[in-house]
C-alpha cells in the first residue's frame, strides 16, 4: 500500500475541487471559448416546433462545366462544414474566404476538375408542429469567382 503524504493529499484534493469549480463556472457562465472548461453545449438548445432549420453548403461550378456540392470535410475540400457554418457571416462580408475551399480541393484532388465559381448556399427546412414540412428552400448568400 502506498499512501500520499499530508501535503500531497491536500494538494490533490485542492486541484480536484478547483477543477470541478472551473467546470461548474464554465457551464453556468462561460462560452465555448473556455475549452476545456466551457459549457457542454452541443445540441443543448431547445428547438421550437415551428423552427426554420438552416443547413449551409457550398456549391461549385467546375472547369468541366458541371455543378457539384463541395464535400465539406477534411478529405474533400480540407475544411469542415461546421467551420463554414460558424464563419458564414464573415464569408458573406468577405467572400474571398471561399478561395481556401477551392485551394483545398485543388491540392487534395489534383486530377479532378477545378472549381471556377463557388456559392455559399443556405437551405432552409420549415417545421410545422414539430414535423418537417415540404422540401427545403435555397438562398445564395455569397458568390466567389475563384482566383487562379
Amino acid at each position: 500500500m502506498v499512501r500520499v503524504g499530508r501535503i500531497g493529499k491536500g494538494l490533490r484534493v485542492l486541484v480536484a475541487v478547483a477543477g470541478v469549480g472551473l467546470l461548474i463556472n464554465g457551464s453556468v457562465r462561460a462560452s465555448d471559448d473556455a475549452w476545456p472548461f466551457g459549457p457542454m453545449s452541443q445540441y443543448a438548445m431547445s428547438v421550437p416546433d415551428d423552427a426554420k432549420i438552416d443547413y449551409t453548403r457550398v456549391s461549385a461550378v467546375t472547369d468541366a462545366g458541371t455543378t457539384v456540392d463541395v464535400p465539406l470535410n477534411i478529405e474533400g475540400a480540407g475544411v469542415a462544414r461546421a467551420e463554414i457554418e460558424a464563419r458564414a457571416g464573415e464569408i458573406v462580408k468577405n467572400p474571398s474566404l471561399l478561395q481556401q475551399v477551392a485551394d483545398g480541393w485543388a491540392r487534395k484532388h489534383p486530377d479532378q476538375p477545378k472549381y471556377v465559381k463557388l456559392e455559399l448556399i443556405r437551405d432552409t427546412t420549415q417545421l410545422v408542429k414539430g414535423r418537417v414540412e415540404g422540401p427545403p428552400t435555397s438562398q445564395v448568400l455569397a458568390t466567389w469567382e475563384v482566383r487562379r
Binding site: M1, V2, R3, V4, G8, K9, G10, R12, V13, A16, G19, V20, L23, I24, G26, S27, V28, D32, D33, A34, W35, P36, G38, P39, M40, S41, Q42, Y43, A44, M45, S46, V47, P48, D49, A51, I53, Y55, I74, G78, V79, A80, A82, E83, E85, A86, R87, L97, Q100, D103, G104, T125, L127, G130, R131, V132
Partner: protein, 305 residues
Amino acid sequence: MRLANWFTPMIALARIAWLRTILYLFVILDMHAFVRDTRDKGEHPGLYQPLLLARLLDLPKPSVANTTVLYVVLIVACLIGATNYFPRVAGWIVAPAFTWWVLIGMSDGKVDHDHLALVIALWVLPTVKAGRRGRRGLASYGDQTRSEAAGWAIRCVQISVIATYFLSAVAKLRSAGWALSWPGSAVLTWAIVRRPHPVGEWLLHYPWVLHVMQWVGIIGEFCSPVILWLKGRWQLFGALFFIGFHAANTAILLIHFLPTVVCWLAFAPLERVVPWFRQRRSDRDAREAEDQAEHGRQAEQQAGA
C-alpha cells in the same frame, strides 16, 4: 478527512498501467481519426481563431513547422508512454502536447465536447509514481500495490467522464433560460435534418419516439453522478446505459463520442486482468496434470489386467 479520502481511494497501480497503454494508443488513433485537421490548420491558418487558453499562454499561430514537430513529438511520446517504461516523462510530454493539438483543432469556430475526460486523464496519469518495488514495463500490468496517488488519478478521470454528462444537462437548462423545455422540443428533428442519414430520416416520421429519447437522455444525464457512488454490478449497469446512449447517438446522428467512451475504462477493475489470466492458466495446468495422472492410472490398470 473522509472527503479527502473520497478523492484518493486506494486503487492498484495495475489499473494505471492499463490505462496508460490504452489511452496513449488512443491518442494516436484520435490524431488520425477525430482531431485530425491540426496539421491542415498549420498549412492554412486562415480560419484560425485562438481559444482563451491559447491566448492566455500566448501560443504561436499554427504553422507547418510547429504542427509537424507537435505531431512527431506526440507520436514518439505516446509510443513510449504506452510501454510503461518511462511513463511519467512521456506522460508529461503528451499532456501539454495533446492539449495544444486539440486546442488548435478546435480553434475554428467549432468546439466539440467529447475530449474533456481524455485531456484530464492525460494530465493526471503522469502524477502516479511506480510502487515501492518500482515495477515497470510488462511487470506493471499485474502490479497489485494499492496506491492513493493512483486512486486520485482514477477519481479525476471518473469525475470528468460523469461531468461530461451532468454538465450537458445543465447546458440544456441554461440555453432555455434555466427552463426544462429541451426534452419536449424539436432538437433531434433539427439535428437529423442537418445530418441526414437513413436511420435518422426514418425516425423523422415518428417525432414522439424522438421526444422519448430526449427525455431518457436528459434524465440519464441528470442522474449520472450517482454512478460515482455505485459499486460492482450496479456501476456496470450505469456504464452500460451510457455506452448504449452513445450507440443510439451513433446510429441516429453519427456522433460517437469515443474519446469519452474510452475513459469509462477508469471505472473498470482492469487490475484484475492479469490475476484472472494467471488463475485460468493455473487451473488449466492443474487440470492437465490431473488428466495426465488419470491417464497414467488407466495405463497402469490396463497393464495390470
